[in-house]
Symmetry: C2
Subunit: 162 residues, 2 copies
């Protein structure tokens, strides 16, 4: 557990296929090691989440899923997203009601921090131990026991800042 940029902002012309491949491969590995089933449906939802580095709406996933899998309905998507979140493969961005693939599901990180670029819409993920420690320390002073922390920072990314 150290300071990590779990998923940075990527340039418009990065090889996104590589991001997708890494995500899918590590998802398969993780599920296997956990004895969890990454079914075709769940895998497909994960792929749809990984279309871009922008968080995706559940109903956008549903619309796409319907085209290829006509029996899809809201529970189809929400169940898959629930599963993927439980495995740490997907995170929900609460302030956007949208879902993003986790860049580092292997390394356990209970407390990610998300950076949301207002301009390009992309989201980066950090797992910064200094932030987590400071939050823990600060709330402990108040007698509060921290279980999970949600940090979502809105601003402008380095690329958009040029």
């Amino acid at each position: 557990m150290k300071n990590k940029v779990i998923m940075p902002f990527r340039s418009a012309k990065h090889q996104h296929r590589k991001c997708q491949k890494i995500a899918l491969d590590s998802a398969k590995k993780l599920c296997e090691s956990q004895g969890q089933r990454l079914t075709p449906l769940r895998q497909r939802v994960l792929e749809l989440v990984w279309q871009t580095h922008e968080p995706v709406k559940a109903y956008d996933i549903l619309d796409q899923l319907k085209d290829e899998h006509s029996s899809s309905a809201p529970p189809t998507v929400y169940r898959a997203l629930d599963f993927l979140q439980e495995q740490g493969l997907v995170h929900k961005i609460e302030s956007l009601n949208a879902y993003i693939g986790c860049g580092g599901p292997d390394e356990s990180h209970e407390h990610s921090q998300f950076l949301i670029c207002q301009q390009c819409g992309a989201v980066a993920e950090l797992d910064d131990i200094d932030i987590t420690n400071l939050l823990n320390e600060k709330v402990s002073e108040l007698g509060f026991t921290m279980q999970t922390g949600m940090v979502e920072i809105v601003g402008v990314c380095a690329i958009c800042n040029h």
Copy 2:
């Protein structure tokens, strides 16, 4: 701007009327000083938000408002909440889709941190400059320009921890 507990966790038997009075009085003062109109409707919504230290759902406000103001509809509540949020009198807790009164609307604080007690449901508000500075510093290192930050920490408060 300093380290502040804007609104602490309060014991079950604290004099909540005082919290309400302070909130209402400072809201009136703030609106007056800003040339904003705290209309009866807006004030009533603010009072309903301040019923407790637990965040309140928009439709719960609506249900109560309807009893006393039959023309109330969703926009009635959402417009009042939007106004109150713009004035810094109310905050939205994103992870709960619920609204809480701001304990210190006077002192400008762009970046609150919210502590959410799983057990009693209450929410405390901090404006901790160390946290804000660290977040700023960390994202700056990545070339990210921070505009607003959402920090919501779930756990157990000192009172529930006994």
